[in-house]
């Protein structure tokens, strides 16, 4: 099935790749065919019947998802017959629908709502008692199931079977009693189980974590990258009132397709932690940034003769690492390390490196910390504490006379700057497979917070008045690309929302 075939969609001739189904082929003609059960990454089930189209020469309407294009095919996605059929299907689907929209988390991004408006008749002729099925059923501690809302499209069944590899859900009973059931004790076990929430076209499967936190229309959405592991799954972060409320995967065929792991999805609580540090601390007391930077400058200048230890964090963006590198170059610091948290990975998405930018730190000249720390005594320590995972060993911390820390929480140090999390700044990270991806600022946790790159640049400028720091992340990236051959030719816009491969590093694809 190769080459192109010519099809006519609603009278418009288009050439499409062979082997496509009619839903995908219609996109080439700028037409969208409604569909519930069909998902491009799952096998075709063909049970929702909303995608019926009329193929010229065939008497009955055909489902578009399970029909492939043939040369010279002509079909209609929007004629009177098709519209009538869709209206009928919508009426059928809504007969027993509980109309929970006011309390349903799916409301606002619900295909039933959308298609009811687009293709429904707007009334019901069904005058009888609706079928009652189990509601608010717990499928473990992550997913909540509502059988009344379910339209039995089996997307979740197919996902767990085909993608996650844990066939745990199936259909039980027949007719109006038909419902989804989970194998065994009724709890899902898959580490990818929360993808069924995104897959579910209606509100039958909802997230326990996000349950009733916010209506989707109140949220602000930011396209960024998950930082839980080196995979760098593309995500969309939903936030309201400058607090992260949920993360859902964003389709990227080169990284995560349409999925992400549950760990990454639920890994944002540290962002919303109200006990986070929001102002710098100098000797345990809150201080304005200017005072903290002046103190840090004095420490660094005083420690020049005695040596400075610099420990970066693999949670930093390339731009921050570069700003740190410029500062360290200025100070003549040789000992540059970073700590890499490791964990378990799997075959699907989870990467053993539990940080987003270990590769970037390595590319920018920081050495992965060895088990044995140099036994040298240092005059000062400049340390970015990682969000999680092993921190510097206590004796390594003690080996420096003065300590400048960047930390999420307050730590004992001469100067402690607050860290900002990945969703509070623009920047780039190098994900697995040397893939350069963009982080986007979505929230402002506290207006007082200054990002690390700005702190480093201001510190640098206080040491060297000729330092002209870049303003935006895009400018910082341009400066970085000009300085390092591995990043040659990279620009902010070239990376794009889906990221790009760093060719110059020579890593395997």
């Amino acid at each position: 099935m190769s080459g192109t075939v010519n099809v006519t969609v609603d009278g418009k001739q288009v050439a499409v790749p062979g082997g496509l189904n009619l839903i995908e082929a219609a996109r080439y003609a700028g037409k969208s065919v409604p569909h519930y059960c069909y998902h491009p990454r799952l096998s075709v089930a063909g049970n929702c019947r909303i995608c019926l189209v009329e193929i010229q020469g065939q008497g009955k309407l055909q489902i578009a998802c399970n029909t492939r294009v043939t040369e010279g095919m002509s079909y209609f996605t929007d004629n009177e017959r098709v519209r009538k059929a869709r209206e009928g299907i919508m009426e059928l689907l809504l007969i027993n629908h509980p109309l929970d929209c006011p309390i349903c988390d799916q409301a606002g991004e619900c295909k039933l709502q959308e298609y009811a408006v687009e293709h429904g008749s707007g009334i019901t002729r069904y005058a009888f008692e609706k079928v009652r099925k189990p509601k608010n059923v717990s499928w473990g501690d992550k997913v909540v199931f509502d059988s009344e809302r379910c339209i039995l499209c089996t997307r979740c069944v197919r996902f767990l079977d085909e993608v996650a590899g844990t066939p745990e859900v199936g259909l039980d009973m027949r007719g109006e009693k038909c419902t989804l059931v989970v194998k065994g004790d009724g709890k899902l076990t898959s580490p990818y189980q929360m993808n069924v929430i995104d897959l579910c076209p209606v509100g039958a499967l909802t997230s326990r974590d996000f349950r009733f936190k916010s209506r989707v229309w109140f949220m602000h959405f930011t396209d960024t990258v998950c930082t839980s592991c080196a995979r760098g799954c593309n995500v969309t972060v939903g936030s309201r009132g400058d607090r992260v409320l949920r993360m859902v995967p964003r389709a990227n065929p080169d990284v995560n397709h349409n999925w992400m792991c549950d760990h990454g999805r639920l890994h944002y609580a540290f962002v919303n932690d109200e006990t986070r540090l929001t102002v710098p601390r100098v000797a345990g007391k809150g201080a304005p940034y200017a005072a903290a930077i002046a103190r840090a400058k004095a420490i660094l200048e005083g420690a020049r003769g005695q040596g400075i230890l610099a420990v970066a964090s693999p949670f930093m963006t390339n731009e921050e690492l570069f700003a740190m590198k410029e500062l360290l170059d200025r100070l003549g610091v040789e000992d540059r390390f970073f700590l890499k948290p490791m964990g378990e990975g799997d075959d699907l998405l989870v990467h053993p490196e539990k940080c987003p930018n270990a590769r970037g730190a390595a590319l920018l000249g920081f050495a992965e910390a060895a088990a044995e720390w140099p036994s040298k005594e240092y005059g000062a320590l400049l340390h970015f504490a990682p969000h999680e995972g092993a921190d510097l060993p206590e004796e390594a911390l003690k080996r420096a006379k003065r300590r400048i820390l960047f930390s999420l929480k307050e730590r004992e140090a001469d100067v402690c700057f607050p860290l900002t999390t990945w969703i509070e700044k623009d920047g780039t990270v190098v994900s697995a497979g040397d893939r350069l991806q963009r982080l986007t600022k979505g929230i402002t946790f506290e207006p007082t917070l200054v990002t690390e790159r700005t702190v480093l640049d201001r510190l640098h400028a206080s040491l060297d008045a000729s330092h002209r720091p870049p303003d935006t992340a895009a400018q910082a990236l341009a400066r970085l690309a000009a300085a390092l051959p591995a990043f040659a030719g990279v620009t902010w816009t070239r990376i794009g929302p889906l990221g790009m491969k760093l060719e110059a590093t020579g890593a395997p694809a």
Binding site: C101, P102, I103, R132, K135, N136, F212, K213, R215, F218
Partner: protein
């Protein structure tokens, strides 16, 4: 625009002396004066449209009067609001804030309720959009127009105050009766 020339009225001699008209005016005002004097002694059957004596006499608001928004309960004392936040969404001055929560127990179909429900009456413009948007018929603009406080904080009506003002309203649907 069409121009219309209005002629100055020609006054008769009697009118130009003004004397008769002045007397006419005086009689009119004294008529009202004695009218009110009379009504003072027979207040119940008063014939003059005397200004309302506000704190004692109060306006009888019509049913479609748009006063302060309030939450209502159904006849079983159950809160009707399910915290869908449609009113919060539709509220033009963003006066409504809702913190939804989930019921701990599952004894009936009720899953969601407003943990906190606040209306900032200093922002409210009494437009009634919340009442219109409410899918559960839980919020109404009641006949309450005298919001006087000495502290700004008191103008933020919390759930208790809102239910106190709203009271009980018969529910015909009783959606949550079903298990």
């Amino acid at each position: 625009m069409k121009t219309r020339i209005v002629k100055r009225p020609q006054l008769s001699v009697g009118e130009r002396i003004y004397f008769a008209t002045v007397v006419k005016g005086l009689l009119l005002t004294i008529k009202h004066f004695f009218g009110v004097c009379r009504d003072l002694f027979d207040w119940k059957n008063k014939k003059t449209a005397i200004t309302m004596q506000y704190p004692e006499e109060r306006w009888d608001f019509k049913d479609n009067f748009r006063g302060a928004p309030a939450l209502v309960m159904d006849q079983f004392g159950r809160e009707k609001c399910v915290a869908c936040q449609m009113c919060e969404f539709v509220c033009p001055p963003k006066a409504i804030t809702i913190w939804p929560a989930e019921f701990a127990t599952k004894d009936n179909n009720v899953e969601k309720f407003p943990d906190r429900f606040e209306i900032d009456m200093l922002r409210c413009i009494y437009c009634g959009f919340c009442e219109e948007a409410c899918p559960e018929e839980a919020i109404f603009l009641v006949k309450e127009a005298e919001l006087v406080h000495t502290d700004k904080k008191d103008f933020i009506h919390d759930k208790g105050k809102l239910y106190e003002m709203g009271g009980i309203r018969e529910d015909r649907i009783l959606k949550w009766q079903h298990k």
